[in-house]
Amino acid sequence: MADKLFKDDAVEEKGERARMASFIGALAIVDLLKTTLGPKGMDKILQSTSRGHSVSVTNDGATILKSLHIDNPAAKVLVDISKVQDDEVGDGTTSVVVLCGELLREAEKLVNLKIHPMTIIDGYRMAVECARSVLEKRTRDNRADPEKFRQDLINIAMTTLSSKILSQEKEHFANLAVNAVMRLKGSGNLEAIQIIKKAGGSLQDSFLDEGFILDKKIGVGQPKSIQNAKILVANTAMDTDKVKIYGARVRVDAMSKIAEIEAAEKDKMKQKVQKILAHGINCFVNRQLIYNFPEELFADAGIMAIEHADFEGIERLALVTGGEITSTFDNPESVKLGHCDLIEEIMIGEDRLIRFSGVEMGEACTIVLRGASTHVLDEAERSLHDALCVLCQTVQDSRVVWGGGWPELLMAKHVDELARKTPGKKSLAVESFAAALRAIPAIIADNAGLDSADLVSRLRAEHSKEDCMSGIDVLTGGVGDMEQLGIYEAFKVKQAVILSATEAAEMILRVDEIIKCAPRKREERM
């Protein structure tokens, strides 16, 4: 055919080829991520292409995928689900991709047996429903008993952290994270937890501080510590206050008038400071810069003035001290001021920071991370973020399941049973689903350098008994009781992993044609 349907660079792939392209793309991603799974998973170094070639070392699936530049459309689907998993539950970003990849790997085999993708999808749907309900039945809820619930949380945090860089200090950090989340009292408002990174010291030196730490310095000549502080949190220009009316400009005909107007300007500033002082405060925090002149005025009045707190800092400060973010200062009596017991300057390593302790909202706290290098700190922050997210989700939905491959094998067992009961070609797909589930513990074992085939088959045998708690004990390299080992996972995370992975696999399976449009031509930049 002489006429082309598409533009020159467009690529069209059909039927088998299209399916192959998506399988290969998806599996490539999975093979990349696979080695990071589990407590003995390895990290990846990512070097950015931008100037400076900054490097980050990470174990977090979502972070790795986010930094990859991928051209394969099916692989993009995987990147997308991992990102959503991160946004929605915060953890399990690697698991979701690996499970989806395993589902596709199994599906590929079935497609090669000439089973229609739609039949496979039907089977997967049945299987996922079965798996979810089984898992839901076997969850445990310890909400009623605060003592046990706390233990659950610590176990979950430890499980999450064990695959990260923090695994050496996981007990320390698990305690940190649980304490921080417990302070939230179930509100799930992660904003109240602030993480500050300071290079230096060791990870062990990281600590949780009750109260709020602002990474700023106190103005010169102002008190370094204030007890029983009344804080005004503001967002206002403290340089020369501009006249905002459009088109206004100063036009003078003599030097003396310039001086007059300058004086008026200065006076205006002074009045503003006076008004602020009228609030009866002893600490003033502004989002914008405070110029030297007003700073001096504040210093004269013996007020601590903190300038240029960033937007998030100011919002958080307002939240924790219970103050109101103000921009006008005409009626001091009705402005809500923030309170805290003590403001002081503290030293962390070489840096001076400001600590607000004894704040009104007891929920707030700050976690100060210490570590040998910025890479370690970045990764520690990501790991801690994962743990905090999971804990928050668990506080809201307190059902827990065991980890270490226990849920996968449990689900696989029941899905297998379902396959036996299902007539028709669908049963093959259901069986494949079980096989994909079993691949997860196998990967964990492989990553730990264990004999996965032996371990998984032993586990499978264990699971044929009722009420089995067995999972992989990576440390001893055998089968262990997950309850005793304290390897717990949040039900909500596991559920999200299974559902999204299946959904994504389904989406890729349904495709039988890929059309890549011609890439947009970039204009040559001079």
Partner: protein
Amino acid sequence: MALAFDEYGRPFIILREQEQKTRAKGLEAQKANIMAAKSVARILRTSLGPKGMDKMLQSGDGDVTISNDGATILEQMEVENQIGKLMVELSRSQDYEIGDGTTGVVVTAGALLEQAEILLERGIHPIRVAEGYEQAARIAVDHLSKISHSFEFSSTNIQPLVQTCMTTLSSKIVNRCKALLAEIAVKAVLAVADLERKDVNLDLIKVEGKVGGKLEDTELVYGIVVDKDMSHPQMPKRIEDAKIAILTCPFEPPKPKTKHKIDIDSTEKFEALREAEKKYFDEMVQKCKDVGATLVICQWGFDDEANHLLMHRGLPAVRWVGGVELELIAIATGGRIVPRFQELTPEKLGRAGIVREKSFGTTKDRMLYIEQCANSRAVTIFIRGASKMMVEETKRSIHDALCVARNLIRDNSIVYGGGSAEIACSIAVEAAADRIPGVEQYAVRAFADALDGVPMALAENSGLQPIDTLTAVKAQQIKEKNPHLGIDCNDVKTNDMKEQNVFETLIGKKQQILLATQVVKMILKIDDVITPSQYS
């Protein structure tokens, strides 16, 4: 390229830069055109029906779309070929007019062209083919009206409507929870429908999506959902019995359009200006407060000072709300959009029972729900899904379902799906063909064959033997005189679409046949294609 020569052997230049253009003429041109159209149709063919597959499309910028919707696929494909573009147009116009059946129309057109090609090879003039198709289309549409049913529903008995929407949704990726989505779509349409005038303004239904959660979490909100949050982090997150001022003027000092300058040449003027400026903000906020508003929704931004004043006076506010959303809010709450502060009066305020902010997931995404509005005629369908592609595809599917529900309210006639209507038409057209004298008879018969294309594709996609299945159903239809027999795509062991509850709208089917015929006629009439060849 053939050239004309004058008596000295010099070629006449007929077209500008003749040598650089390729030209196809006569039968060659028609065949090339048909080829192009067919290849477009072939791409879509596998998407037809409940077992149809999806297409993955990567745009020039690298974004990935996965879709089953004919119109979307064609639009994103960036077809270059002129005839291909006609097919894209065809699908688009079906989308605008009916909203559903965008794949079917292209497949029908492709089948018609395929048949036409055979006729052309026999030496039948394209115009005669076109005329024959025209006649046949008329017969088919008449027959469709004959076999259609009108079906009864009311605002309380929505089950028939839900069934029809489910047929539409069953071919999409969302078919896992088609019952839920179909119900949402029908309820949404009924909420905004004007049953007496038999009309539905789909603009009143807002479809909003947010990535995350499960498809099952998709909900129908009787009110408006806006992807915005309060302008000040400390404003209340929940307002009951809200009186809403809807403004299109910014909380900023005025900026007259005419060019002007204010000269300040003395201290007094400087002071005065400062005072004036302060008064502006104060007055603006006071005005809102005075009319009794408890929530301000503004199209523009706020100055920091205004923001604080609003906060200070206990007046929650939302800024940067888009124009369309603003209109919807105005409709829903029965308020008026106010372009100037001076025109704010208590009557112009909108009312809503509850306004609340809801946050999602671990990110700080917040959305504003405005519910229990004075006028419940505006609704929002709020879609959740595991990924961006899923949400987008769900949006498109919901749109199709909404269109179907609307069409049914406009005209409550239905035909049965599963290819049964096409088969019935094919039989009717075939029978009529024998009574038509002349060359057109061949064309009409070809039309009948082409109609079989859709059920054939359905059977093929469902993994059935296409010819076996089609002939069996056709024979059964004639024997039992039952036009409800179609292809059993879902393997439920009955061919009767009435029992399977597979419906399509009459108007949609009619439009499919008419539009496809029209485009085919147009393509057949082209006998000369001149294109500039590769430009360097």
